[in-house]
Assembly symmetry: C2
């Protein structure tokens, strides 16, 4: 853990999937329910969840930065394309379209990790808080209302018309909040996300989510990118920030 | 008042200046304080506030819809350009640059009308709430934190890269929340704003702010555009919405 810079960050920008919400548990549960309904209890729905996420990440590379809104494809669309590929790979055909839409919408209703609603509220007392995610505004609003999260604004991919890890997704989000990169801190459970943010001048906090990739998780269990803070949940992060920068105060 | 459509709107989108915050009182007070400091108690700071707002509105016409972020000029910039013109017209020269910036930043710290923090919280129980204003994201975050307002997202000019009354400012904001125009209701204290929104298919609620333009206000004292609801404050609006659509419920 490197030494914390002297000034409290003005904004905390949050990765959402894995950091704030437990997407994998939600997807596995939705898959199992669908499988049971279809008589396909034989499918490994944990593997299905991991494949879906992997296909989505793979597909991101095909989404260049846009110069204008037209042609922008939301995370719903990217998730749905990845879903169709995974189902095809697994030979799961003939699922009714409405059920596929419901399954895809699971990403919009994943539950937060238990510490997030109250921890985020604590952190918001002293920092502007906003998701910096690949989820679009409508999706983030639904996730936040579902989980009882309160954001000051929603930034991220739709503000930038660029998906992480493209630099614009980070830089345009910081700019939209009227800040310089060094005034913002990315809170993320992914070292790769933190590494990308640090290269662009943001500070980072790594939150260890040791089951975000399932019970056998072997990655992102410790800091590998030089995070300013390493925390086991958002309450711990708030405590560490108070220790580093003094008691809570509304930033100027 | 026209008959209310049968379904509760999913989102309430708020005009901010005049509807949620009392910009005029803030600008008059800031102007008077500056005038006193400069030995210019002779200036009519109420007239100054009205001129500043009028110059800004006039200047909006020079801001076409942008196709990309580069070249976007924020409300801070538009307010500052209008301020420079007004000060020049009034022969108020030689004000230190830091004081001009502070004066301009008054728009970022105007107090809400007294009913807004609690009324907005009530309305948020059953609707997605977001500002649909010409204020950019950074400004809206500051105004909201200053006034204790909680939004689900910030939409408006910076999302659309278009200023009201341009249609894109309304339509892109609705779209960013994943809604059709008829699923959204603009809450505004300005008939002209409501009229523009209705033309585009949004529903509207007019909130009567009888001193938003000062003690001698003669406009926007009644509905002139066919609003779905006419309310004297946000609590009254919530009560009327509950009467029309049933008790509060989180929309699907």
């Amino acid at each position: 853990m490197t030494a914390a810079p002297s000034a409290r960050p003005k904004a905390l920008l949050f990765d959402v999937y894995g950091t704030c919400v437990d997407w994998r548990t939600a997807i596995v549960a939705a898959g199992r329910a669908l499988g049971h309904e279809l008589g396909r209890d034989d499918v490994d729905w944990e593997a299905f969840a991991d494949l879906w996420r992997a296909k989505y990440v793979e597909g991101l590379a095909a989404n260049p930065r846009r110069e204008r809104h037209s042609g922008w494809r939301t995370l719903d669309v990217l998730h749905r394309e990845a879903l169709d590929e995974v189902l095809s790979d697994l030979g799961l055909d003939g699922i009714p379209a409405t059920r596929l839409t419901e399954l895809n919408d699971t990403w919009r209703r994943a539950d937060p990790w238990p510490d997030v609603p109250s921890g985020l509220a604590r952190l918001r007392e002293s920092h502007v808080v906003a998701p910096l995610s690949n989820g679009h505004i409508a999706l983030q609003v639904e996730l936040a209302r579902h989980g009882g999260l309160t954001w000051d604004a929603i930034v991220g991919a739709e503000i930038a018309w660029a998906y992480k890890p493209q630099p614009e997704a980070f830089l345009r989000s910081v700019e939209a909040l009227g800040l310089l990169p060094a005034e913002a801190m990315l809170v993320t459970a992914h070292n790769v996300d933190g590494r990308n943010a640090r290269r662009l001048g943001l500070r980072t906090a790594l939150v260890i989510r040791s089951t975000q990739f399932g019970p056998g998780q072997t990655t992102d269990l410790e800091d590998e990118h030089g995070a300013d803070f390493v925390a086991h949940d958002l309450h711990d992060l708030d405590t560490q920030l108070c220790r580093a920068y003094g008691e809570r105060a509304i930033p100027a």
